[in-house]
């Protein structure tokens, strides 16, 4: 891909995207949208083995119908990032237990065009990262806690799915899966059995998570590790 785009001699960068960048739909339209779409399509397949670029790609692919110059520049930024990390893959650690762990977060109202929030989660099996996702939520959240909650409930569903898979393979699940969550109020509300007026509208998500906690499938812990390493 790098040689195709003439990026072989480019200088690598250390992050796939400038973290302060926020895309919006307006801007000077890019003259050759097909090229841009092709490149992003290829990068989407790469997210199957390269978790780092998932967010950037997800963000970019929301504007496939009318890419602007700014979007196209970001594609090249990602290619430069990939150049710096070439040869890295996912390491499947053989000396590890088979306990699932998950990390979840959300980015409240971060999409400036729709003000919807973005869910992100990582699921580890032992020391190995096995699933990751970055996705714009399909409803608007009125508070950051609400966005966090929606992300968490998706995360819980995914963990449940892996639990079924482990069951099918005769792998015993010895203790509840730990989900790390960086929002204190979310953890409080999950553990508090009383509903308040302000949380009424996210009842379904609440019940999903509580049920899974009561079944002993998952438990929630605050994030303690300052940096989560991907690879």
């Amino acid at each position: 891909m790098l040689s195709e785009t003439g990026m072989l001699d480019s200088s690598p960068v250390s992050t796939p995207m400038n973290f302060s960048t926020k895309f919006h739909a307006d801007g000077e339209p890019f003259s050759d949208p097909t090229t841009s779409r092709k490149l992003i399509g290829k990068l989407i397949y790469l997210t199957n083995t390269i978790p780092d670029i998932t967010f950037a790609i997800n963000h970019l692919s929301q504007y496939l119908s009318s890419p602007t110059k700014e979007h196209y520049q970001t594609v090249f930024r990602i290619l430069r990032y990939l150049k710096g990390t070439i040869g890295q893959g996912i390491f499947f650690d053989a000396k590890s237990d088979v306990q699932i762990q998950a990390y979840g977060d959300s980015n409240w109202a971060s999409c400036i065009d729709t003000r919807r929030s973005v869910t992100g989660y990582l699921i580890y099996l032992g020391n190995t990262l096995i699933n990751w996702r970055s996705k714009k939520q399909n409803t608007i959240s009125r508070s950051s806690f609400e966005a966090e909650y929606r992300a968490l409930s998706q995360n819980v569903c995914e963990v449940q799915w892996f639990a079924y898979l482990m069951h099918d393979l005769n792998i015993p699940i010895l203790q509840p899966t730990v989900i790390f969550c960086d929002n204190a109020s979310t953890i409080k509300i999950v553990n508090n059995l009383v509903f308040y007026e302000r949380t009424k509208h996210i009842e379904i998500d609440c019940y999903t998570i509580r049920e899974k906690i009561q079944q002993g499938l998952v438990k929630l812990l605050p994030v303690k590790i300052p940096n989560i390493s991907f690879r």
């Binding site: 650690d93 898979l165 393979l169």
Partner: protein
């Protein structure tokens, strides 16, 4: 050209010299291609893919054509000619010649999950590739196909009534999956509830796992004998090729060390 490495130069030159024909007319005089097409027709006949019938009135026929490929070795030298008869899926009519066309494939998360478990439990990972996979599928619909070019002894207004699926048919991969799944289920493998392309054989705590992505299959488990048995069974039924350690799957390179 001169900037390419010698090895790569050879490949480019040989690909350049060996032109891949596009139509039946181009190859009908060429003995190499003729032999290979006759072989393919013989395989299809052996497979009982169709019977020749008179076309009933008011029926749609599906077109077909030959696709020609030259297979090269790694060093660029010619390996063999390949001719495949394909149906023109776009001439099929929905609701008549085909209904559903989707086939379940392995979720990427399942693939990673199985790889991690195999790494932790030190299971041997093998890869199975099914030869002419799509030709095994049985058809639910009545499909009439035009007589393929090169088929001897046919009269006007005769067509092929298809019994088995062909490459190019809209439902080919679905019918192949159905065929494989029913075979595996018959042989005591269970399809996983959370991913229907994951088949598990569980006997007295010994586990064998098959993960199916159309005609690419990952095969692993904790009992070498059992893995071997399942491979033999599959080989008898479908003819496998390239059975070996898992190195490439869906374009992912998989490397393993003993540390």
């Amino acid at each position: 050209m001169s900037r390419l490495s010698t090895c790569f130069q050879q490949v480019t030159i040989s690909i350049d010299n060996n032109h891949e024909p596009k139509t039946y007319k181009e190859v009908v005089q060429d003995i190499n291609w003729k032999t290979i097409m006759d072989e393919e027709l013989a395989t299809l006949a052996h497979n009982k893919t169709w019977t020749i019938v008179d076309l009933p009135t008011n029926n749609n026929t599906v077109g077909c054509k030959w696709v020609y490929k030259l297979k090269h070795k790694v060093d660029g030298s010619m390996e063999r000619y390949k001719a495949r008869l394909v149906a023109k899926g776009f001439t099929q009519l929905e609701g008549l010649d085909f209904h559903d066309t989707f086939a379940p494939v392995a979720k990427i998360a399942t693939v990673r999950f199985i790889l991690v478990i195999a790494a932790i439990r030190n299971w041997k990972l093998t890869q199975l590739d099914v030869n002419n996979a799509f030709l095994h599928g049985e058809l639910d619909e009545t499909i009439y196909m035009d007589i393929p070019p090169g088929l001897p002894n046919t009269k006007l207004r005769q067509v092929c009534l298809l019994h088995k699926s062909l490459y190019g048919l809209r439902q080919a991969r679905r019918q192949w999956y159905a065929q494989l799944a029913s075979f595996l289920l018959k042989n005591n493998l269970k399809s996983s509830f959370v991913d229907h392309s994951l088949f598990i054989h569980n006997m007295e705590g010994k586990i064998t796992v098959l993960l199916v992505y159309i005609d690419d299959i990952i095969h692993t488990g904790d009992d070498i004998n059992n893995i071997h048995n399942v491979t033999l069974l599959l080989n008898q039924e479908f003819k496998l090729k390239n059975v070996g350690d898992l190195t490439y799957f869906l374009g992912f390179e998989i490397a393993r060390s003993n540390k």
